[in-house]
């Protein structure tokens, strides 16, 4: 799609930065705004160099007010721009909740299609980085329950680039959840690879015993669990959803039907989490193929814990394997 950035080894943070830069080069209507996105390049450096290259008009340090940022982006989109908003951390997106739910998600619908809002809202989310309170929330369930939003979350360097490009190109608002603890993971990146469309899950690992269904920060944990499971005699598939809304029922159900056993894994608290939707809809659609209930391995139903205790809260390999063990193998 873009010839601007050559194939190279890249961190996820660099891939996101490249996606923003390439989008801004190709389309003058793409504007970035948020707190500290200018000279600092964002606290995670995702917007590094954008103000230098495109000027403050295109990459704007805003005053410190999240509802104001998102509300301003709405107005910019109404005028025909394609804003990309950065929320500094998951929990700091909450002040913008009213703008998000009552306007961003609904504007196209409220206006019978006359005012679509092609806004991308980037939110670094999740834990595992040793952050103090309010820096590690997993807030995807709020967004997934809000009709009118797309909810996208990459787990690999390539998807970070491709899905961010696709999100910016989308004529619908996208909540783009960046798994912040994967920012510094490296992989090779080919920006010229075809851009993945929003809404397609992908099988990251094939397997014959059961499937782990996951997304974002939990993908590497699941892959590790699948590796460890070999020692126990299980051959686990790992499915990366990549997009929570719209949900890829087709791919997910195909895999679940063929294996009959599934565990959903995510970091967010379990109760009312996205895992509940996944488990419920998979069960509705694949009931007769299931040898066991779809189980969930998630964060506990507690406020995100302090950094020194977070590893007890986050789904880890052992907890995943414990769930796999409960998949009624005796049947």
């Amino acid at each position: 799609m873009s010839t601007a950035t050559p194939v190279r080894t890249s961190t996820m943070a660099q891939a996101l930065n490249a996606a923003l830069r390439d989008a801004m080069r190709e389309d003058r209507s793409v504007h970035v705004l948020g707190e500290d996105v200018g000279a600092l390049g964002g606290v995670f450096r995702i917007t590094d160099g954008l103000t230098a290259e495109f000027g403050r008009d295109r990459c704007l340090d805003t005053p410190l007010a999240e509802a104001g940022i998102l509300g301003t982006a709405i107005g910019m989109a109404m005028y025909g721009l394609r804003p990309v908003v950065e929320m500094q951390f998951d929990a700091f997106a909450y002040p913008a909740m009213e703008q998000l739910v009552s306007h961003v998600a609904k504007m196209r619908n409220r206006t019978a299609g006359k005012l679509p809002l092609p806004i991308t809202i980037r939110i670094p989310y999740g834990g595992g980085i040793g952050g103090v309170e309010h820096h590690s929330d997993s807030s995807e369930a709020y967004y997934a329950q809000t009709p009118g939003l797309h909810v996208v979350t990459p787990a690999t360097v390539g998807d970070a680039y491709g899905l961010l490009r696709a999100s910016i190109a989308s004529d619908d608002p996208v909540v783009f959840l960046e798994p912040k603890r994967l920012y510094w993971g490296k992989d090779s990146l080919d920006p010229a690879a075809p851009v993945e469309p929003i809404g397609r899950a992908v099988l990251r690992r094939t397997g014959s015993s059961a499937v782990l269904i996951t997304y974002g920060p939990s993908l590497p944990v699941c892959l590790e669990a699948a590796e460890a499971a070999k020692a126990e005699g299980w051959d686990l598939a790992v499915l990366d959803l990549r997009t929570l809304v719209p949900f890829d029922d087709e791919t997910v159900c195909r895999v679940v039907r063929s294996l009959g056993r599934a565990v959903v894994v995510h970091e967010a608290s379990g109760f009312g989490g996205t895992g509940a939707e996944i488990a419920a809809r998979v069960t509705e659609r694949c009931f007769h193929h299931l040898a066991a209930p779809v189980l969930r391995v998630t964060g506990f139903d507690i406020p995100y814990p302090p950094p020194m205790l977070e590893h007890h809260h986050l789904p880890g390999v052992d907890r995943i394997l414990d769930a796999v063990a409960r998949l009624q193998w005796e049947d």
């Binding site: 403050r56 008009d57 104001g68 509300g71 006359k114 005012l115």
Partner: protein
């Protein structure tokens, strides 16, 4: 190319050690001690008679519109109507100061401003009738949807004005709010963004004394709402909101300043809501009849008629013409709302996304099947 980078004149430096004075002089930002008035003052003579007559005509038609819409709620033809009766001077002036390329950001009470701006009077009522969310094309009419969540449209106006400025187009956005709305965080954030970005936007606060039942004294302790402007670094203006030429003048000045790169303005118009909050409200619970009566004496339509007649700018013919136009509009409203709106249940799934998701396609199919089954059942009954 870089609009923001090239405006160093507005970037006053931050505080430096040893400095003795604040960054800019607040005096020009503060509103005058008394609200601006035109009617009953010599200033009236400086106004274009044609403009004054046009204001009058719109006030009369606007009042009738408000009245007819309220009647339609009582007949169950509108779901709800928050009348701007008593506030017509603000409504009409807000519409008139804007050019065709400018944008209006109304609140739920500003249907009349939307109509006065040129939106079809019946389409403007769609939301309140209940058959769809927005009945007009916001892009074509450069009029945002009527906004219910308080003050949330203010940042939209800022963003749109900012985008226009970046494109070097001389577009101004006007956001309309109530006194209650100024308490919301979004009001604050919008004004601050507007001032920092020097966005070409005007904020019109119609201070009608109440937020539903809550009087201004329990809403704010400020000397006036216009005084809030200084805290953002923009000028605040106070105007008698029932004096149509005064509102027109103050808003017009603010709009032109914004258009010429002078940045945002906060205008507080002192007015009064003569009717209840909406048809569903019972205003006797929280305000005295005497208070309403006092304001009826200061009615914007009466004031205008009295002063224009006094100045010899209005005669019986013009009054009758305005009244006939108003009646014709009312008749059209009655006729249109006499019959039920056309409704397509399948429209529920249109415009949620650019393309329906697989999930919505499934759900649409479910509803279609249900509707078909209903039709079949009805057909059976008729046999």
């Amino acid at each position: 190319m870089t609009v923001l980078d090239h405006r160093h004149h507005t970037s006053v430096p931050g505080w430096r050690p040893g400095a003795t004075a604040p960054r800019t002089d607040p005096a020009p930002l503060l509103p005058d001690a008394s609200p601006v008035r035109v009617l009953g003052t010599p200033a009236l003579e400086k106004y274009d008679p044609a403009l004054l007559r046009e204001l009058y005509r719109r006030l009369v038609v606007g009042r009738r519109y408000n009245q007819q819409a309220t009647v339609l709620t009582k007949q169950g033809r509108l779901a709800v109507y928050p009348a701007s009766t008593g506030q017509e001077a603000c409504q009409v002036a807000a519409a008139m100061v804007l050019g065709a390329g400018d944008w209006l950001f109304p609140s739920y009470r500003d249907t009349l401003a939307v109509v006065s701006r040129g939106v079809d009077p019946l389409e403007a009522l769609t939301l309140l009738r209940g058959n769809a969310h927005t009945g007009y094309d916001p892009r074509a009419t450069r009029t945002a949807p009527l906004c219910t969540p308080l003050a949330t449209q203010a940042p939209h106006a800022v963003g749109l004005a900012h985008a226009a400025r970046l494109s070097a187009e001389p577009v101004v956005a006007l956001a309309m709010l109530g006194d209650g709305g100024t308490s919301e965080g979004d009001f604050h954030e919008a004004l601050n963004f507007a001032a920092v970005l020097q966005a070409p936007v005007v904020f019109l606060v119609q201070n009608n004394g109440y937020a539903i039942s809550v009087p201004l004294t329990q809403q704010s302790a400020a000397p006036s709402l216009a005084h809030k402007a200084v805290g953002y670094g923009m000028p605040g203006r106070l105007v008698d909101g029932n004096d149509a030429p005064a509102v027109h003048a103050v808003l017009g000045e603010a709009v032109e300043r914004a258009r010429c790169g002078g940045g945002p303005t906060l205008v507080e118009a002192l007015t009064y809501r003569l009717e209840a909050h909406t048809n569903a409200d019972d205003a006797t619970r929280y305000r005295e009849d005497e208070e309403v009566a006092a304001w009826r004496e200061h009615d914007p339509v009466l004031l205008m008629e009295r002063h224009l007649r006094g100045a010899g700018l209005l005669d019986d013919l013009l009054v009758r013409q305005a009244s006939e136009e108003a009646e014709a509009l009312a008749a059209r409203m009655r006729a249109e709302f006499h019959s039920d709106a056309e409704l397509d249940p399948m429209s529920l799934f249109a415009h949620v996304y650019a393309e329906p998701t697989p999930q919505l396609r499934e759900q649409a199919a479910q509803l279609a099947a249900e509707l078909a089954a209903e039709l079949a059942a009805e057909a059976e009954v008729q046999h």
